[in-house]
Structures are given as C-alpha cells and as structure tokens.
Amino acid sequence: MSIEITMPRLSDTMEQGTIIKWNAKEGDAVSAGDAVADIETDKATMEMQVYDDGTIVKILVAEGDTVEVGTVIAVMAEEDEDPAEVAASVNVQPAAQTTQPKQAAADAGPDETVQTETPVQPVMPAAQEPAPAETVPPVGAAQQIVAPATDGVGDGRLRVSPVARRLAEAHDIDVRTLQGSGPGGRVVKRDVLRAVDAGAETAAAIPPSAKAVVPATPVLLPGPIVQAPTVLQDQIVPLSNMRQIIARRLVEATTTIPHYQVTVSFDMEKLLELRTTLNEQLAEQGVKLSVNDFLVRCCALAMYQHPEFNASWGGDHVKIHGEVNIGIAISLPVERGGGLVVATLRNADQKSLRAISLETKLLAEKARTRGLSIDEMADTTFTISNLGMFGVDHFTAIINPPNSAILAVGAALQKPVVRDGELTIGYEMAATLSLDHRVIDGAMAAQYLRTLKGLIENPATLLV
C-alpha cells in the first residue's frame, strides 16, 4: 500500500503551506525522520519529515506552489513495495494551487466589474432613493414622517416605563392620555396610579387604543364580515383589537363580578303617548325623542333616591359617584368591523329630554363614523343597553365595569295587559337589570326598579 504524504500542519495557525524546496526527488529512498522538503508556513520555514521508510515515487506539488494543509503533495512506496508499480498506480491530479485563484480574483480590475454590473445611472445618493410606492401615499410631505404605531401607543416617541405600560393595560388606561412625569415626559408608575386613583379609567368597553382599527378615512375592512359568503365554509377570523378587548373585558366582568338579574315589565302606554305628543309638537325643531331617551332620564333621575346604583366596587370600599354619567351601548356597523362601544352621557340627571336626545344622536353618529374620543367613552356610572329596536322581548346584559348595574331593555310591544282590573290591549316593555351583588342586594334592586317603574309609568315627572 502506498503512503500519501500530505501538506503537514506545522504551526497551530497554519492553513496552507508553500513548498520552498524538495530535498528528495522521485525515485529517492528515504527513511523515517528524513526531512524531504522545506515548507514555508505562516510563521516560518520548516522542514517536513517523513514518518516511514520507503521510496518517493511521485511528487505532486512543485517547488514554489502553495496548497492547503492536508493536500497530498507526494506519494511514497513502502519498503516492501515496487516503486514502479506504485508510481504507475498513482492517479492523483496535481493539487489545485490556492494562490492562483486568489491572484486571478485580485487581478480583475474593479472598474470593469462595477461598470458591467451596474446599469448606467447618474449619481444618486442613497438617501434620495424613492421608497417603495405603496408605503408612501402621494400626499403632502408632512404625512411621510408619521411613524407607524409599532407598539400601539402612538407615534413611537411616547416614553413609557415597562411597569407603567403593564399597569395601564391592566386598568385599561390609555397611556397617551397621561402626562408623563418622568424624564423626557416618560410615563411612569405613579402617573398611572394617579390616573387610577382619580377614577380616570375608561369605562368604555373599548379602550381608545382599539381605535387604531378605525382608520381616519373610511375603508372597507377586509374579512368575511364585509361580504357574507354565499356558501358557509370553515374560516379562521383573526381577532381585531376591539374584539380582543371585548373578549377580555367581558370575561373579566363575568368571572369577577357576582352577577344577578331582576326583570320587570313596564306599562308604556302613557310614555308612548307623551312621546308621540312631544315629537309632534317638536317636529319642526327637528327633535325626535326615542324611548331610550326617556329611559336615560328615568334611570338618571332614579339615582337621587338610590345613589348606591351610581357606584363602583373598590375592593375594600364602594365608591359612590357624585356625577350621574349614563353609558349607552352603541353597536357599530359591520362595515366598520362590528363590535360595540359605550358612549357617555355626562350629568344625564341634569339634562332635559331634548338635550339627552340630541347628545345621544351625535354620539351614536360619531361612534359609527369617526369613532369616539376617550372622553366620550370614559367615566360612565350606569349603562343602558337597548335592543328594543330589533324587536327583542327581553335579554340580560353583562355589567360594564366599573359600573355596578346595567339595564337591558327590550321592545315596547303590544300585549294584553290588565289595567284597572280589566283585560285590555296595551304596550308593555320588559327590562332586566344586571347587578353586582357586592354593591347592590336584591331588595335594593327591587326598590330601584319600583322607582323606575313609577317614573316610566307616570312620565310627566320627567318634564320637570
């Protein structure tokens, strides 16, 4: 068996070596330990010895050539072999010289390469290169600097400490609404805690960050909601921000608030009469009162006798609010992605039916088109959810924290009613109050509903 002599590694860092000189030629007999060649390494010129006795039959790398460590540079026949036979069997191509290709690459003129590779183009600094068209709409330059809201907290320059961010999320506080007291306006923990203490939690089901899904200009959202499929099929619908928030908040509400419900029916005869009269009289002024407007006023006024309904659970206390802010659940059109928001009618107890009506319309309109501001959704103390317009008999609603109660209102329907001991046809409306038992007990709920019933069934009171 022939012995292959490979380019030895003669230093710890040596990668390739150059044969400076062969001290043996083909046909020479050598002994183990003989220095058969001088090799130039990265560090020095060293002797290369052979480890066995035998005859050099083939030299494969010439003097002056450089090869990688491990490359076969010569072949020996062992002592008991016929050198001629071994030489004949050697079929090794001369090793590729590593210096050659490198040289060739280095020789290639840089000018040539660049010119052939790059199409003729006037000098254009990289900064002026146009951005891909779709990322920058062809509008005013000012809009181009708007940074994407990468973290959902605005323009990216908002500074929020990690724990402040976490706390704000837990309390559904929009950090953008807070004045940061840290360096550079950084919103820090105490800013969030102050906001929590001040009761500045957004009472709306949807924190303002969800507004991000509502673009400033109406755009049809992609997705299955927009166009009902003609054939039902399995689909995975990704959650919008609003859907995620609704899911989280309502699960939280149902799992942490001990809910119970009390249902009552109202005789709507007088109220509907009054409504018809008022609407006729005020039609010229563009006023059109809804049943819901009456209900808002009724619920608000009832708070004077039942302040504990205008309250929030505080863990170790109950907070009774000084303002009566009635929340009105507003469903959003499917074109806007669906979902719902709760608009705030501030100081509803101090507003006339006309004012309530007007404000409610404005809020609903805004909610369904441009979206509500945080202020317009914050600080509710009691919520009304009305599905009467869909003809629903009655239903129950989930409390909108930090409220302690929500009134779910069905439609005023023609029904056989017993009035003054006689069966007759009348209008009846069922409403179900959902309550937080930590704040309001059943008897209290009954008393509130009795007061409400008194107001609805004797609506003249509402005018004063």
Binding site: S161, P162, V163, S181, G182, V188, K189, R190
Partner: protein
C-alpha cells in the same frame, strides 16, 4: 443562647471549630501563627493547633497559594489568609488560573477545596495599591465561589460553609468591620451560600449590596424613610453563586432597583446584577436599574478624596431618589 462578639472573633470561631471537626483543615498565611494574625483574627490558634496546622509563611503569595492548590489537590482543605486581598494580585496565576480550573482541566479528577480569605476594600487611606475591591475582578472567573460577610453572624456562618465547600471559595472580609460586634449564637450553625437576606424590608425601592457598603445602604434607607421612601435593603451574601431570585422578587414588588458595589463600575458585579435584573424584571421596572460604585479612579490617599470616591449614604440616597423620580 447568643452573645455579642466581634467580627474577627466570629471568623476565628469558625476556623477553630472547623479545624477541630476536620483534621484536614489548616490555616496558612503571613503572620497567622506567632504574630497571632496581622489583624488578630487567628489569635490563640497556634497554641491550640500547633505549628503544623497554623503555618506562618514568608511574604510569598504566589508560593503559599500555589502550595495550597497542591495540598488541596491531594485532599487537604487549606484556609489561606491574605493579609489583604490587594496582595492576592501577585498570586493571580495560582488563584485564578489554577485553583478554579483544576477540576475542569483534570476532567473532574482534582478539585481545589480552598478558602482564600482576608481583608477586601478600602481600609482607610491606604492608597491605590492597598485598597483593592477584588469582587468584580475575580467574580468573572468560573469555578470559584465568592462570599462577603456583613456582620459577625454571617462571618462565622458563611466561613464554616466555605470551609466545607469542595470548591475554591474567595472569602472577602473587611478591615473596617473586624471590630464590629454582633449577636452570634453559642450553638453551631451554618449560613448557606446563595441565600440572600433582606436586611430591611420596604416597598418603594430595592437596594442590593454586599459586605461593608450595606452599612451605607442601611444608613441611606433610614434617611429616605424619613422622607417617606421605604427601601428594601438586600444583602446578597454570596456573589458566586448569586441569589438572583430574592432580588427579582423584591424588584417585582418595588419596581425600582439600586445596586451598590464598592468595586469599579466597568464590567462589575453591579453591572452584572443590573443586567440580570433588567432581563428578569423588564416589565416590572419603572426606571432603569441604578448603580452606585466606587468612582472610576485609582483609590486616592487624601481623606476627603477617598471618602468621595467610595460609595456612601449620600450617593445611595441620590441614586434612590433619582431612580424613583423623586430627585
């Protein structure tokens, strides 16, 4: 039963008890025997244990620390006293290249159960060469353990644990604490490694430190409490292994952290802890972790300069106020 004894007595009790318990334990160093110890830590030990187990050496740190490595490889358990950790630098090859790596290099055959102990930190106007705080320099090396006792109780309990440990333990005492008195039980006890201690509870800001600077931390915490800022002062006790869990738990509660480390700031123990807290507590932090170190200068001689250079209660107060946005 417990009594008040000095830090140096606590150290001696630990060594003497361990030497009575285990004949393989011996004490070696400069002036440890006939002189009774340069700082009287080993007073009386020569009489009890004799010159074969309480061994005076010439001023020859490379020699006797290397001797300890060889003796430990053969199964003895040397306690090597450095008069000052500043002098350990001349033995760096032995304590850093040999002791902590021998087990690894030998594939688990030869360990080095040695306690290297002595004074660490500025002693008081000793100048640049004699005021080393070696914790950051040495804690970088895997294979060694490092303990820093705060009071006599820990001085004894941690040293006994160190002697029983099968790895090289760097035990950093303080010249300025040797005469501090504290409660130490009559009964035997050990203080385990990697078990930090809350020296003062508080909800508003976590302060982490080791050894002597803890006194400044406690002083600062007292001053801050008068202003309504309640600091939680954590004594890490051992740097290797580090009880990061206790620190993390505290920071999750307070949302603020100040690390006080008497060594230099660059590539330091303080930097390491700050980094780990940032990694572990990112969403719990209301501000970056603040560090209070010795200033990045050689220790000066002049009294006022030296005091200014070292961590002190004023600097710690400033750091806490700043990091909690109360500056």
């Amino acid at each position: 039963m417990s009594r008040q004894i000095e830090y140096r007595d606590a150290l001696r009790e630990a060594m003497s008890e361990e030497m009575r318990r285990d004949p393989r334990v011996f004490l070696m160093g400069e002036e440890v025997a006939q002189y009774n110890g340069a700082y009287k830590v080993s007073r009386g030990m020569l009489e009890e244990f004799g010159p074969q187990r309480v061994v005076d050496t010439p001023i020859s740190e490379t020699g006797f620390t290397g001797l300890a490595v060889g003796a430990a490889m053969m199964g003895l358990r040397p306690i090597i006293e450095f008069m000052s950790w500043s002098f350990s630098l001349v033995a760096a090859d032995q304590i850093l290249n040999n002791a902590p790596k021998m087990l690894y290099m030998s594939g688990g055959q030869f360990g080095c159960p040695i306690v290297f102990r002595g004074n660490n930190g500025a002693g008081g106007q000793l100048g640049s060469t004699h005021s080393w705080c070696v914790e950051s320099l040495y804690a970088n090396v895997p294979g060694l353990k490092m303990a820093i006792p705060f009071d006599p109780y820990d001085a004894k309990g941690l040293l006994k644990t160190a002697v029983r440990d099968d790895n090289p333990v760097f035990f950093l005492e303080s010249e300025r604490l040797l005469s501090v008195k504290g409660e130490v039980p009559e009964e035997e006890y050990l203080v385990p490694f990697q078990q930090a201690l809350i020296r003062r509870p508080g909800a508003d800001c976590t302060i982490v430190s080791f050894g002597r600077p803890l006194y400044f931390c406690l002083e600062a915490a007292q001053a801050l409490a008068e202003d309504g800022i309640e600091c939680e002062v954590i004594d890490g006790r051992t740097i290797r292994p580090l009880d990061i869990e206790t620190i993390v738990e505290s920071v999750r509660k307070t949302n603020y952290c100040v690390v006080v480390d008497q060594s230099w700031p660059f590539a330091s123990v303080g930097a390491e802890i700050a980094s780990q807290v940032h990694e572990r507590c990112f969403d719990d932090l209301d501000n970056h972790v603040a560090r209070v170190h010795a200033d990045d200068v050689p220790p000066p001689y002049a009294y006022n300069l030296e005091q200014e250079m070292l961590p002190n209660a004023r600097k710690i107060c400033e750091a806490v106020r700043s990091v909690t946005y109360n500056a």
